[in-house]
Subunit: 512 residues, 2 copies
């Protein structure tokens, strides 16, 4: 008896293909084929015939392949010369994998997702047993995928992490901490098989452990997209996810390569979503075509559940009429403190720098470009086709300090104090300053109005109540009326951003 | 030439199965089978053989099936008596469906999800053409599914809506409003094929339109779970979703029947998630086994993105340390107003009744049971095994009014005023009253502490700032530190609840 749980693998097989038209399916042809093979002393394995179509395939031992082709060519010499039989040939170096599963189609769809297309498959429901034929070098990965399904072996998700700085490094630690629990609870094994920075890449097919920093430090491999793709192919890794936690403008150009090579994409890098709308949309089409996903919840508001919420509301037909909020943790800190305390603007900005809340050159935060990028990303979730240049950005840096060196800017920071003190004091009573992104206008049109600016709001409003370096987002919709959905909390920081990226990885794993 | 885009259907076919062990695969057996059939004048169609295993199947015209069995029985009479051939028989009333697709496995997985398991399938990668054999009555649904994939026909999701009151009725309208857009943008066609209340059910295979209220009003069909399941089976509907917008304690008992019959489940009904933990977990296992999903984002906070956020944070290993908030829109309204205005508690409660914010008997709101149920649902998302009885609930109704009639309670409502006035006045300065749910304690243990109670909070805190009948949820986690994630907005109301249910339907559709 065949053990129901065994996966049988027969290597070194060959397919003999017999092609002809308006010919097969005639009474007697089958018999002639098998008689001929029989006469040649050739044992025939799995047979699949498309008699009502144009071909028949017969499985034989690789050693018999040439003989089989020869005897069939001889038997059908006449029909071949008459054009009824168009081709007789063999494909070698194949494996037959036989197994029993009540979840056969799931296995096939897993194989397909991993770009394995069996040359031949045959299933008899009553027998319950299935045979598929794959090329020799796909044998191992095919076996792994089948085992995963049959034995309930946990599904493995292979992660290639690009960038291991603040966010990326924290993500590695979070994944290593939780991998065991996730395996137990969801039967999903998260394996970090590659970690790369702009110079080097380290690989570990078995998955990195707590010594990953050493491994990348001493890695001799130069970083390249091709080496990542090659590694995945060589080791036949299934369920590939590329995670981009860099802020690189150049690296995003590689996203399409990853998608075409079977990777889903997750990341905190927000560059791709702010490229010209044509590129933005082309990438979506590429994803759809390749049945891959791109998740980027952390592009706006770090781990706060913002993008997914907006996506679902929009798709379910909810008329989103306005999105407004404090998008920058840095500028949240600056204006929350400047509004309440009796300190100069320059004092608080320097303080934010010292706490590591700002970019090395704080003008990058004060320029409003980061807020603008986030606002643009939300606008595009509503199918608006705005470009970055459409955004009205109030740059908080005075014009005469825009192009000086960083050092000079920092030394002249106090020049900003007079103006901001004036703005602060000219507010109505019980008002505070907030630097906001505001998407408004008629959002049913092709483009919305995108403003990034400093405003004065009542201290007891939701925006006015903001604390620390928290972000806040108000989503106004038709059904929710005057009181918006408000989502508030730490909208920046390595830990919460990494956790948000982790959430996206888990979302993806659920669909696998 | 075969048209690459045509789906060929051959009806009235039969499979002749030939079973034996340690016998097939021997040289010569194939030839004998085909010679015998050939000799009987029987044309053989698709052949699938598991020669290295235990069976061979041959496809013939239904009319030839008995002859084929007879000639094979005769040919192998000796082997049958010796036990080498165990069985020769036919399965009739079959169809062969032949098609070309580069997304073959997707089709198979769609078929499987719809509980169609081909009796036989054969594919030759080089020929590109696939044949599958299904039972006659599955021919149409199989053809539909294949067409959906091959021609990019939109995927149809079939909805059975239970309950068409406030939330259910609004949902129907929202779906009818947005269906066209969703079809265009996501290639998903949402069809409402059944609408039921506790007495009647109306069916429409083509999908209900704007006259759905008339149709259910004049429907003659008595409502029953079996009739819903039968309808889906009879019409071979794929992608079934049962949507429960009732508050019925009895109806949830049917969820397992729906899941076993191929339905995913979505709903605002929160009863199932508050059943004893054993039932709660068994249902999860049933879902997993049947690869079905149950989504219920609106169980807590209506359309606010609460449950999904908590799920992802928890699964990604974020240590959620506390969840606290105003869970009831009704009690939000009552205490927001009572805290700020100089009106009596009874005045404001009556006002809430008149505005339709309360249940017909406001004691159902004031009892705190609804808040407790929501709190329990969140606790269970964290894998806590609390039961409803574990919750400490402060019932806002004095004991002597608990068991009087609704009319008597309403007439004696003013008896509550003295106590609540006292509570209000004994607060610290600038404090307000809030009726909260609070999940705390060591949430790494098996059970957490669940409190539902009236508390006094600073007016300028997030809870204190709450307005109207909004809900607010504070999620405290390790990474987010002292400042929680805050999610705030309308947490009740037909429109936002229906929109939330709609969001769940779309989430489900994405995985199909």
């Amino acid at each position: 008896m065949t053990d129901q749980n065994v996966i049988n693998i027969y290597r070194n097989k060959a397919l003999v293909n017999f092609e002809g038209k308006d010919f097969l399916g005639q009474i007697g042809v089958d018999s002639r084929i098998f008689n001929a093979l029989n006469g040649g002393g050739i044992s025939v394995g799995v047979i699949s015939q498309q008699a009502i179509e144009n071909g028949i395939s017969v499985l034989v031992d690789e050693d018999d392949a040439q003989d089989a082709v020869d005897v069939l060519k001889k038997e059908f010499e006449k029909e071949k010369s008459e054009g009824h039989v168009s081709n007789i040939y063999s494909i070698e170096n194949l494996s037959v994998i036989g197994f029993v599963s009540d979840n056969y189609n799931k296995i096939l769809s897993e194989l397909q997702r991993n770009k394995i297309f069996p040359l031949l498959l045959s299933q008899i429901a009553s027998a319950g047993r299935v045979n598929i034929v794959v090329t020799g070098n796909q044998t191992e990965i095919t076996k792994n995928i089948i085992e995963t399904e049959i034995y309930g072996k946990p599904k493995t998700v292979h992660l290639a992490l690009i960038g291991h700085g603040n966010v990326g490094g924290t993500l590695v630690e979070q994944i290593l901490d939780s991998a065991h629990d996730i395996l137990n609870r969801k039967r999903v094994e998260l394996k970090i098989v590659a970690i790369a920075n702009s110079r080097k890449v380290a690989f570990n097919k078995a998955g990195f452990g707590s010594d990953w920093r050493q491994k990348i430090k001493y890695s001799q491999n130069e970083s390249s997209v091709q080496s990542l793709v090659d590694f995945a192919n060589e080791h036949h890794l299934e369920n590939l996810v590329m995670v981009d936690n860099t802020a690189s403008k150049d690296f995003v150009k590689n996203y399409p390569i990853f998608v075409e090579n079977g990777f889903d994409v997750v990341g905190s890098n927000k560059i791709y979503n702010t490229l010209p709308i044509a590129e933005y949309r082309n990438f979506r089409k590429l994803l759809e075509k390749n049945k891959k996903k791109y998740l980027y919840e952390t592009n706006v508001g770090a781990g706060l559940p913002l993008i997914d919420t907006i996506k679902l509301l929009h798709l379910s037909g909810e008329n989103i009429t306005r999105i407004k909020g404090v998008f920058s943790g840095t500028l949240s800190y600056v204006f929350n403190n400047f509004s309440l305390r009796n300190d100069k603007f320059s004092t608080i900005t320097s303080e934010a720098m010292e706490k590591g809340f700002t970019e090395p050159d704080p003008r990058e935060d004060l320029s409003g470009n980061d807020v603008a990028r986030k606002l643009l990303i939300l606008a595009r979730e509503l199918d608006l086709i705005n470009e970055f240049d459409d955004i009205n950005i109030q740059n908080l840096v005075p014009e005469n300090l825009l192009s000086v060196s960083k050092e000079e800017f920092l030394s002249r920071l106090e020049e900003l104090d007079v103006d901001y003190q004036k703005i602060k004091e000219s507010q109505e009573p019980n008002h505070v300053l907030r630097y906001v992104g505001d998407l408004h206008g008629d959002l049913q049109k092709e483009k919305g109005e995108l403003d990034v600016k400093l405003i004065s709001v009542p201290a007891n409003s939701a925006l006015g109540q903001l604390k620390g370096s928290d972000s806040i987002f108000e989503i106004y919709t038709e059904s929710y009326g005057e009181n918006p959905i408000v989502i508030m909390g730490a909208g920046a920081g390595a830990k919460v951003t990494a956790r948000g990226v982790f959430g996206d990885i888990l979302r993806l794993s659920e669909t696998k």
